[in-house]
Symmetry: C2
Subunit: 421 residues, 2 copies
């Protein structure tokens, strides 16, 4: 579904001029950052103009005293963190891909560090947005809180380009921790691993990352990255704090893990160990994809209350096992969020249908447990079919807001809200 | 501005029936919790029906494993915390008044603990809302995060009854800290106190509360509560953590304070000392009001980036001193938020005009520093005049959202958004 044209914008005013012109001609507008979104957010089902924001890559201001920065939408999270290195500050949200901060804002991205630092919802202070009319608004302020009316910042975060084009973002920054330790632990069962996670959170231990790699994923990572995981579920962790704090946190977690069937607990404060661990985790998707030659992946993304997580994981593993296709699981388990990477032969209509039915049952299961159909990937076109089930009349309310702000339906049409003609 | 009638609702279905009936007759609807809001949120300028939610006082569920609770809108924060006492959990947001959780949600309340735990924006997971049409929606889920469409929860938090009536709230809870310590320190200057706050935050010390009481407020508290503050600015603090953690945090803060002209630093882990300190702080408003016989107070509420806080405070103190009226200052300084309590003779048109002009200059000053016209009190009718200056075209966007969800303009009319006929 390609657009009719791609325009490279270099400023908010550029974007406003493009949108105004498109509005005159009822021409659809699709924003583009790094193209790393997963639910068809940047497809052009009605053609139109893709506005590529990757050249809007300036870091406009960094305010160390206020621990905030304002960037153009095309700045990637790695570029920002490289720029911040000398300041003692960093931007914590890490979805894995080196996505643009505009795209991360538009899809309400999160990833491995959300358990400690929150998602984009929690880390955006304000935005510059070009609306469908071509008008430019500035939402939020640089103050840490405000009660001045509707939270337009939060409305735009996660709106996937359907309400306007985000061109600048003011982000909260964090102090670089004095010390970081990483840890890994094998578990006999998924339930044991999840219970260890719940106990760790309830103890108030401030884990920065806590990731589940199930047995099937562990084997795929072994084959791809030369690791030597046992064929059982693992938790991968990171602690941020003082030298003594991270040592204490790791030790406390080790005791909790042992109480829940954990074995082979290891921790390290060495950067090389940590980098190896997280590279392995971030490469796990590719390891899983490589585990079946020529396969494509359908990546699911449910999130449930953590009290239901073990049950959701086990039912999903059973369901996948019965389906006859392969589906290793990776999870941001501190948030109750996990992904099954369903591997299919792209030429097999049967496998595709099987995977889609599995994904639909995962979404339904998450909703029945008080959870959501998407923890972090967004709606795009891929999750439209589940929106009514999650939101009921609330989905029509989203449609009403969309119609109010974009009466011509030119802003990234056919995504997120109920379809209009 | 009284309503024509008051209806006591006892369920979401009750509220839906009332709203449907009112919609048929174009009758305004004003929600009521405890009546503690400060900007005229619960006035009835067009008459109509006040829906009193105070009898919707049931705590519906508490989920200790997920650290969340669902309550009816009329439950007060103190009632919830009393109920939670035995669970090891608590709800942290504390605006001072024993407000209803529905009202706190509707006004995006915060208060003394926001520096650590965030505002209502950060602590609401989901809502049940009755819309202007009488339809009931459920926003959010019990999962810790979601990317499933527009953040209707965040849109409703702070919407002040203008988009719908909040009837149930799912709240994040926190673990009761193992230890709490409180501290107090006098400073030679406001700038020294603010610099100590900035240094404390940048050190990553997790203060739970950090409050400024200026010299004028300190004297008022002495007279009212029998305290013996020196006639200079003070910081009041609270630390939450482990026994050793809170002792270490207090000691580190003591060193930071000494570097910034702090004197007479004292800390305590005794509950009775802590309770006395925070009772004094919460009573400070009444102490200030009592300092001038027969006075009424106009309470301002600006919030600025913390790097500009000292400047904002000093310019405000100078401005007040020049005005000829009294205006002690209290501040949630960890957030950059402060209040001047402008004391006026209610029979003096001149004093009222002077105070209003001061308040207007405070709002303008906050905006010029990248801040907001209201950190936590909301817009209601009292802050309408400043909304255009803060939001520009964004205020019209709020009006467009309001019109889309409440075309008849019956939901708490004449509050927050641009006035309609």
């Amino acid at each position: 579904m390609p657009p009719d044209a791609v325009i490279y914008a270099t400023s908010t005013e550029d974007v406003a001029a493009i949108v105004s012109t498109c509005a005159k001609h009822d021409c659809p507008i699709i924003p583009w950052g790094t193209g790393t979104s997963l639910e068809g957010h940047s497809l052009a089902p009605r053609g139109g103009v893709t506005i590529d924001l990757s050249r809007m890559d300036k870091i406009l201001t960094v305010n160390p005293a206020d621990m905030d920065a304002t960037v153009q939408a095309g700045v990637t999270r790695e570029a920002l963190n490289t720029h911040l290195r000398a300041t003692g500050l960093f931007f914590p949200v890490d979805p894995g891909a080196n996505a643009s901060l505009g795209g991360m804002t538009a899809t309400r991205a999160s990833g491995t560090t959300a358990v400690r630092y929150g998602t984009m919802r929690d880390n955006v202070l304000g935005l510059t947005v070009v609306l469908a009319s071509g008008e430019i608004i500035h939402t939020g302020t640089r103050a840490r809180k405000s009660s001045a009316g509707y939270d337009l910042t939060a409305l735009m975060v996660g709106s996937e380009g359907t309400l306007g084009i985000i061109t600048e973002i003011t982000l909260k920054l964090q102090g670089q921790p004095q010390a970081i330790s990483s840890a890994i632990c094998a578990f006999e069962t998924v339930a044991g691993a999840v219970d260890a996670v719940i106990a760790t959170i309830q103890m108030g231990i401030q884990i920065a990352r806590i990731e589940l790699v199930d047995a099937a994923s562990a084997l795929a990572v072994n084959a791809h990255s030369g690791a030597n995981f046992r064929a059982c579920p693992h938790l991968l962790l990171e602690f941020h704090g003082s030298d003594s704090g991270v040592a204490e946190d790791a030790a406390t977690f080790g005791e909790i893990a042992a109480d829940h069937g954990g074995a082979g607990f290891e921790w390290s404060a060495k950067p090389e160990d940590r980098n190896r661990l997280w590279k392995m985790r971030h490469d796990a998707y590719y390891a899983i994809l490589a585990s079946r030659k020529g396969a494509r992946a359908i990546v699911t993304d449910v999130c449930v209350p953590i009290s239901r997580l073990a049950e959701a994981l086990l039912e999903t593993q059973d369901d996948i096992a019965r389906s006859g296709i392969t589906g290793p699981i990776l999870g941001h388990v501190g948030d109750g969020n996990f992904h099954a990477i369903l591997l299919i032969d792209p030429d097999s209509a049967l496998e595709r249908a099987t995977a889609q039915a599995l994904a639909a049952r995962m979404a339904k299961r998450a909703l029945s447990m008080g959870g959501t159909i998407t923890g972090e990937h967004g709606v795009g076109m891929g999750k439209l079919d589940y929106m009514q089930a999650e939101h009921g009349h609330g989905w029509a309310v989203m449609g009403a807001i969309k119609s109010a702000l974009d009466p011509q339906n030119i802003m990234n049409p056919d995504k997120l809200v109920p379809k209009r003609n």
